[in-house]
């Protein structure tokens, strides 16, 4: 291959920021990777026309001049797959940032290259097939314990189908080691290695898509109870700056019950990635008992890194997610922020002098968004197992106005919309997910799952939602006449709504106890709220006074139950229940007589 390189060299004729034009590029194909200029900057061919190619360059092009070479590689932009991905931080084109730092120091030099996976590192390989076995796309041929919590299953790559000729015995091998030789059906032989490649823009194949049944449990009550996302679902979290997009995504990355997390920092702050890097290794996954970093891959293309690499970073991330999905895992992808990705598209499109559609975004924005969110799903893998990729995309609408193109188009391709509310955020009511403007179409898919845990879940949820709706209506009147002018029954509704907001919906990510709320505790809290509602309504109906309810013994502890009662502490739960119940009994007796 390297012998005929001479023929595959073009020449730069224009440099316009990250967009470079080159001639003598007859051999170049669309989406082919090229190395640009003397610094050999990585680029991708995005347009070819009569021997001239337009290239988007993933690094700063400062100093590049017309006349320099462009070397074709005849490969699409691909990621490297294999053990060693977990716990690593990559940039948008999968350069390992820890090793780049070791080479070039604190600042990222241009043209720096490093293997995404360490070729020298050995992994303990356990074969799972023997000579004579047939292998085809997705057939496992071995496995490696990648981290203590994740078993990395080595699957036959999608273009291989044949018979195992030989396979190495259990032992320690490097990623490029030929572990097995396959005699291909189409003729010839092909080695199988731990490391593989996959082009980032191409979804990995699956047998079929499955319908969604299970919730992706997040530990955030407003999500799990009100606007749940299913495993394999897609959610958008739009909000103006400072309303809590990143915090919510970080909370999900920490506590949701996926096996693997791919966290993509796309055009956002460097410090936020640093925060994850520093914090996750110290946090313990409540399910595996292991460090959270062992299940996490970070992709960091921060706002000050080259804009073209920002465009590709979300594809890099989702391809890694699909790879683990194919092993049978539930993977959750956080993309913060898809708006910065869309802006990268817009910037590149502008430099290409394409016709703009809405607000300067290219006309193909919705198609690209659809293509990204379509890669979420629950599937039957090529091997015949179940796996899922859930996608949670942050959206950063200019001025916090949801009518802008990215929010609008995104909402067509997701089924779960967590609308962040500026007023809630200003009042430091977090998560600032609006119960008025959010929705989840997954609710119907996952209700049965909850019913298996808690028969009353759906009805309790309904009661609580209705109180909040009633409150919204009552607030309109209260704004005009003052709440004290309302009848006792309506004032009780306002009180209960207040309790729901403060004691249930609001959940501080920094509270030691409340940062994660188990499904069991959620169910219990909902049941408590509903019981309290029904009994106090009854008391008021019988002529009781709101003032008595406000003075109920234990009410203050009820209001603090989220942070005072740890997950799973059934004794404390029962004690509080008893305390409240006694108080309500006493009130009831007062009015029965």
């Amino acid at each position: 291959m390297s012998s005929d390189h001479r023929e595959h060299i073009g020449e730069i004729i224009r440099v316009n920021g990250p967009i470079v034009e080159a001639r003598h590029m007859e051999h170049a194909g669309m989406l082919e990777v090229v190395e640009v200029g003397a610094m050999r900057l990585i680029g991708e061919v995005i347009k070819v026309h009569r021997g001239a190619a337009t290239i988007q360059v993933y690094e700063n092009t400062s100093g590049l001049s017309p006349g320099e070479e462009v070397i074709c590689t005849a490969r699409p932009l691909s990621v490297r797959l294999g053990p060693g991905l977990l716990g690593t931080i990559y940039d948008g084109i999968q350069r390992p940032l820890d090793r780049i730092a070791a080479i070039s120091g604190a600042m990222i030099n241009r043209g720096e290259k490093a293997d995404p996976l360490d070729p020298a590192r050995t992994w303990h390989f356990q074969p799972q097939c023997k000579p004579g076995d047939r292998v085809t796309t997705g057939t496992p041929f071995g496995e490696v314990q990648e981290t203590l919590s994740i078993n990395h299953r080595l699957l036959t790559p999608p273009d291989v189908s044949g018979t195992i000729v030989s396979i190495v015995p259990e032992g320690d091998y490097t990623g490029e080691h030929h572990l097995a030789i396959v005699k291909l059906d189409k003729g010839g032989e092909r080695p199988l290695t731990m490391f593989q490649h996959w082009p980032v823009r191409l979804p990995r194949p699956v047998r079929q898509r499955l319908s969604l049944r299970q919730p992706l449990l997040t530990g955030l009550r407003v999500i799990d109870a009100f606007f749940p996302i299913a495993k394999g679902g897609a959610a958008a979290i739009p909000g103006g700056f400072g309303t809590g997009k990143t915090m919510t995504q970080q909370a999900l990355a920490k506590w949701c019950d996926a096996h693997i997390i791919v966290y993509i920092g796309c055009g956002e702050r460097g410090n936020e990635m640093t925060e994850v890097l520093r914090e996750f290794p110290e946090l313990v996954d409540p399910r595996s008992g292991r460090s959270l970093m062992e299940r996490t891959i970070l992709i960091a293309n921060t706002s000050n890194m080259p804009v073209a690499a920002r465009e590709v970073s979300i594809y890099t991330g989702i391809t890694l997610a699909e790879y683990y999905r194919d092993m049978g895992y539930d993977v959750a992808v956080m993309a913060d922020s898809t708006s910065r990705w869309a802006e990268a598209l817009r910037e590149l499109s502008g430099r290409l002098e394409e016709m703009p559609a809405d607000e300067g975004f290219p006309a193909y924005l919705p198609a690209r968004l659809a293509g990204f969110y379509e890669r979420a799903g629950k599937v039957e893998t090529m091997e015949g197992k179940e796996g899922s990729v859930s996608v949670i995309g942050a959206v950063s609408p200019p001025g916090g106005d949801f009518s802008e193109p990215v929010t609008q188009h995104t909402s067509r391709f997701i089924r779960c919309f967590w609308a962040l509310d500026r007023d809630l955020a200003n009042a430091r009511h977090y998560p600032a997910i609006s119960w008025k403007n959010s929705y989840s179409e997954y609710l119907v898919d996952i209700t049965d799952w909850w019913k298996n845990q808690d028969l009353d879940w759906a009805t309790n949820r309904q009661v609580i939602m209705e109180i909040l709706q009633e409150e919204t209506a009552l607030q309109q009147i209260a704004k005009l006449v003052g709440p004290d002018a309302l009848p006792e029954g309506q004032r009780l509704t306002l009180l209960i709504a207040d309790i729901i907001k403060n004691a249930f919906l609001q959940q501080n990510s920094f509270d030691e106890v409340d940062m994660y709320c188990s499904p069991g505790k959620q169910s219990w809290m909902m049941a408590m709220l509903v019981k309290f509602t029904l009994r106090t309504r009854d008391i008021i109906r019988r002529g009781g006074a709101l003032a008595d309810i406000q003075k109920l013994p234990g009410l203050d502890r009820f209001l603090r139950m989220k942070s005072e009662i740890p997950n799973g502490d059934t004794q404390a739960m029962a004690a509080l229940e008893q305390l409240l119940s006694n108080g309500l009994d006493a009130l009831e007796r007062k009015f029965v007589e």
Partner: protein
């Protein structure tokens, strides 16, 4: 191969701040250009777009008095670099790093590219060291930490300069004396603003620790595009090579953005919102992200950009995109200013994103996070009750709501409000916070813990309340 210094006589055409040069060879993207006007005057420029035979050059000195035939363009074969050295402290430079104080160029300086390089997120250290500014609105409610980028969102006529000067004067780390410097960048502001800062630095005796980069209102507007980059290049050198703790004050980012819009329009680019280019976000990020700390334990860059919101509109692209990049924002409110409250820091829209890790036990005080959260919650209720009161009248409010109104008044005047030369310790500030919380009934205070209520609410005597 390259012939640095190759000069071309005559340019093809001139449009706004841009010069189009033809028949060139071997010019690189981003390369520095010296444009010589017909009268012999030299101006710096930079290549924005280049083909094999032509280049678009943006001229920092502006294009006044240039004519196509009489103008010469010399391509320098390198990008814009400025000198950096410790000796630059105590000096004044223009936006491109050339001395403006009549003294010679610093000796022994390194020359660094003004665009810098992106910091590897892996190499960053997460900032969490509390900086006490002595201003309660910041220390208590929107805490600043070392290495943070925290802008002031202001409006015309609001006292942002006085606040920035007060911060520069009072800011210190708890229990620590450090090797510090201030780098000050001014873009498009008037001479008196620059003098206000110089006087302020002088009277607090820090002038020798300050380097100034001034591109004032009467300097060519394109120079503003380089000014903050020059300042940050020096700041990076001082912080990460010399190990100093650097506070960077930049004013006014709105003028910077206008210069960027001017260039973009001249290039005929498709505008995004309000005529600003679609890459305004990325461009601003290439400035604001040049803040923080590194793992290697060197110094830090704390950035405090000032911007004036056109018509006080926080959703205008300049504050909006800034808020999406910076680690919070201190928002000034005209209404509070008119009521005579200094500093008029808006209670609800202000935010410090790094506060969460910089405060609490062993940092400020254990109760700080919850006191702040409680004050925010209560103050947001005040806003609702005030609007209710404006409909039904204050007399009609419930007794508890009346207490909230009183709380709001005291909070704004006694906690937020303070003197321009008043320097409060964090303990004094927290005590003031509890003092005003005591106006409210105990049952209203759900965000603080029972133990904290016992320690701070129950123990101390009730404050004297307003009539």
């Amino acid at each position: 191969m390259k012939m640095p210094g190759l000069e071309y006589s005559g340019v093809k055409n001139i449009d706004g701040p841009l010069v189009f040069v033809d028949n060139i060879r071997n010019v690189a993207y981003d390369e520095l250009v010296v444009i010589t006007a017909p009268n012999g005057e030299e101006r710096m420029g930079q290549v924005l777009d280049v083909t094999a035979t032509s280049a678009v050059v943006q001229v920092f000195g502006g294009t006044d008095a240039l004519s196509p035939a009489g103008t010469r363009a010399r391509f320098l074969g390198e990008s814009l670099r400025i000198p950096v050295s410790r000796e630059m402290l105590g000096r004044v430079f223009d936006g491109l790093g050339r001395p403006k104080d009549g003294l010679p160029m610093p000796l022994n300086a390194d020359y660094l590219d003004v665009n810098g390089l992106p910091v590897n997120p892996y190499a960053r250290e997460y900032p969490r060291d509390f900086i006490q500014t002595g201003i309660s609105a910041i220390d208590l409610m929107n805490t600043l930490v070392r290495g943070q980028k925290l802008p002031i969102f202001s409006g015309n006529g609001l006292p942002h300069n006085r606040i920035a000067a007060q911060i520069a004067r009072q800011a210190r780390l708890l229990n620590e004396e450090v090797d510090f410097a201030i780098v000050f960048a001014a873009m498009g502001v008037k001479h008196d603003v620059a003098h206000f800062f110089i006087d302020s630095f002088q009277s607090s005796g820090v002038l020798n620790n300050v380097a100034m980069f001034l591109s004032l209102a009467d300097d060519p507007s394109v120079e503003r595009l380089i000014t903050p980059r020059s300042a940050l290049t020096l700041a990076e050198y001082l912080a990460f090579t010399e190990g100093m703790h650097v506070l960077v004050l930049i004013t006014d980012m709105s003028n910077y953005c206008e210069a960027l819009r001017e260039i973009s329009t001249a290039r005929g680019e498709i505008p995004s919102r309000k005529g600003y280019p679609g890459y305004l976000y990325s461009d601003l990020a290439s400035i604001y992200e040049r803040a923080g700390r590194l793992r290697d334990g060197s110094g830090s860059i704390t950035q405090m950009p000032i911007l004036t919101m056109p018509s006080d509109d926080i959703s205008h692209p300049i504050p909006d995109l800034t808020g999406y990049i910076t680690e919070g924002q201190i928002v000034l409110e005209r209404d509070m200013f008119q009521r005579g409250i200094y500093p008029p820091v808006a209670g609800l829209p202000s935010l410090s994103r790094l506060m969460k890790d910089g405060i609490g036990k062993d940092r400020t005080r254990a109760d700080h996070p919850r006191v702040a959260s409680q004050l925010f919650a209560a103050y947001s209720k005040v806003k609702d009750i005030r609007s209710l009161a404006s409909v039904i009248g204050e007399e009609e409010l419930s007794p508890v709501d009346k207490l909230y109104i009183q709380f709001g008044h005291e909070f704004e005047n006694r906690v937020i409000g303070q003197g321009e030369f008043e320097n409060r310790t964090i303990e004094q500030t927290l005590e003031l916070g509890w003092d005003v919380l005591k106006i409210l009934p105990r049952a209203e205070l759900l965000r603080v813990s029972e133990e904290e209520l016992q320690q701070y609410y129950d123990q101390a005597p009730q404050v004297e309340t307003l009539r």
